[in-house]
């Protein structure tokens, strides 16, 4: 078996008294679409931030494309592209300027940069809007532009943190068709986090289920169902974590509300 493109071993992040990520280990084989499935507040974003050099782990090791992002952030950064949970474009710049800025920061040589920007804009169907300010774009267009930007420097891995949050179903499908095409054509590894069960099931070759900062299990969607003797991923998740997937972080108020719902009005 070839060396995995992402290797995480007993990775931990502790914020004061709170274990956001608790000794998690997993491997992502190169060229796969990998889903990180879990409710909000499970530790998905924190894990992605640690792999992508934005946060220092409390302990544990990470290898990304053969590089340790903690020791060698600059090399690690060249090997991935990322689409954050919240938009991270400069609204006051045009689509083209945002891509140009990115290309220069990533040291893509001028000629290659200009060709690649054209290709990427065409790929996400924004060529006709290249000179418009990003503040005039819709949410879906911004997300597409961010995908184009994340791919500009030919990364090995594309990270997407809750990429379809807040997008309508049509835009969501559209976006996934780009990502599948990309995965097929360029062999790029896609690592995405989501709390939508069907999104993980439909798009990922492998799924890791994370809850309360721990990886509960991982495998293909079928593995997960077989493991739990359930028919749907939804039931598998329920069997694995003991809860249905929550839309909000499991705050005390939420637990109260859930208990209330479960026990009815008495």
């Amino acid at each position: 078996m070839p060396e995995p493109i992402i290797h995480v071993d007993r990775l931990t992040k502790k914020f004061k008294n709170f274990m956001a990520v608790d000794h998690i280990s997993f491997d992502v084989p190169a060229g796969q679409i990998f889903a990180f499935l879990g409710p909000n507040g499970a530790g998905k974003s924190t894990t992605i931030k640690m792999i992508t050099t934005l946060l220092h782990p409390s302990s544990g090791t990470i290898r990304l494309n053969g590089v340790d992002p903690v020791k060698d952030p600059k090399d690690a950064r060249r090997s991935f592209g990322i689409v954050f949970q919240d938009p991270s474009l400069d609204d006051e710049l045009t689509a083209w300027e945002n891509l140009e800025f990115h290309g220069v920061l990533y040291g893509v040589p001028k000629e290659l940069r200009r060709t690649r920007i054209g290709e990427m804009l065409a790929f996400v169907e924004l060529s006709d809007r290249r000179d418009d300010l990003v503040k005039t774009f819709s949410g879906g267009m911004k997300r597409r532009l961010e995908i184009a930007r994340g791919l500009l420097h030919h990364p090995k891995v594309l990270f997407l943190d809750e990429p379809t949050l807040g997008l309508d179903p049509q835009t969501r499908n559209h976006m996934w068709s780009y990502l599948h095409e990309l995965n097929r054509k360029e062999g790029i590894t896609v690592f995405f986090s989501t709390h939508y069960m069907e999104e993980a099931e439909r798009n990922a070759q492998r799924i890791a289920v994370i809850d309360h900062g721990k990886i509960v299990t991982s495998g293909t969607s079928d593995d997960l169902k077989a493991q739990t003797h359930t028919a749907t991923l939804e039931d598998a998740f329920l069997a694995l974590t003991g809860t249905t997937i929550r839309d909000e972080a499991g705050s005390a108020a939420d637990r109260m509300r859930q208990r209330h719902r479960a026990w009815g009005h008495r």
Partner: protein
């Protein structure tokens, strides 16, 4: 070098695109020039101090610079809130270069704003003693702009959101401006105010500009430049260090 340039360019493009911001930030200096310049003019002349507008003009230029440059530095918080900061922080560029590019961009913007305010003073009737010294005066503006943009960056690197903005305006920028000798001569001051003016870096910036533009100053030009350079070095280092510690 390219990377620093593109970070610089972004700040400048954003400034040039925000016409309302440029025009808006000329309102305050204009008000100071007209209301104080003409309002206190007669009193100032009666006290035997000469032409107040002439005295005030470099001070108001200093005001334009300090407000714009601290604001440019603070833009780090905006970028953090609107997510763009993350895009630069995951790029394979050292934090130091990001900070340097941004700060140079902010300082350029503040210097441009200073030049605009200077042009405004000409419209009001201010005439520099020696037109040839306008160029070195602009260089001093650049130094003052760099000093306060770094300070703004340093402060912004410690803040998570805009909550502290009002605090910075009222307890840092306003005192720095009002206690800099922009509005009043530095002689015969009560001790407390005198001490405040001595530790305020803007004092030396405005004093140097006065030296070049009206040919009269409180301190020697060399002392002004020395103090300004020292403050700038310290704030650039502090800003770079604090910026390098940002986690998102």
């Amino acid at each position: 070098m390219n990377k620093i340039f593109i970070l610089w360019l972004r700040q400048v493009i954003r400034y040039l695109r925000s016409r309302p911001r440029i025009i808006g930030s000329l309102g305050q200096p204009l008000l100071f020039l007209v209301a104080l310049g003409f309002g206190f003019g007669p009193v100032f002349a009666k006290a035997g101090q000469g032409n107040y507008l002439e005295f005030l003009a470099p001070g108001v230029v200093g005001m334009g610079i300090i407000f714009t440059s601290i604001f440019s530095g603070i833009e780090v918080i905006w970028d953090r809130q609107f997510g763009f900061l993350k895009e630069t922080l995951v790029a394979p560029v050292s934090r130091l270069r990001i900070m340097v590019g941004r700060t140079l961009g902010g300082a350029t913007v503040a210097t441009l704003q200073g030049v605009l305010v200077l042009a405004l003073t000409f419209l009001i009737g201010f005439r520099p003693a020696n037109a040839w010294l306008i160029l070195p005066a602009i260089l001093v503006m650049g130094l003052v702009a760099l000093l306060f943009t770094s300070l703004g960056t340093a402060i912004a690197s410690m803040l998570d959101d805009m909550q502290g903005f009002q605090l910075i305006m009222n307890f840092l920028v306003m005192p720095l401006f009002f206690l800099s000798g922009a509005l009043f001569p530095l002689d015969h001051l009560p001790t407390a105010i005198r001490v405040a003016t001595v530790i305020d870096p803007l004092t030396y910036g405005i004093d140097a500009m006065r030296h070049l533009l009206i040919g009269a100053s409180h301190y020697a030009l060399s002392l002004d430049l020395l103090v300004l350079s020292a403050f700038t070095a310290v704030f650039v280092a502090l800003g770079a260090w604090l910026f390098s510690r940002i986690q998102v």
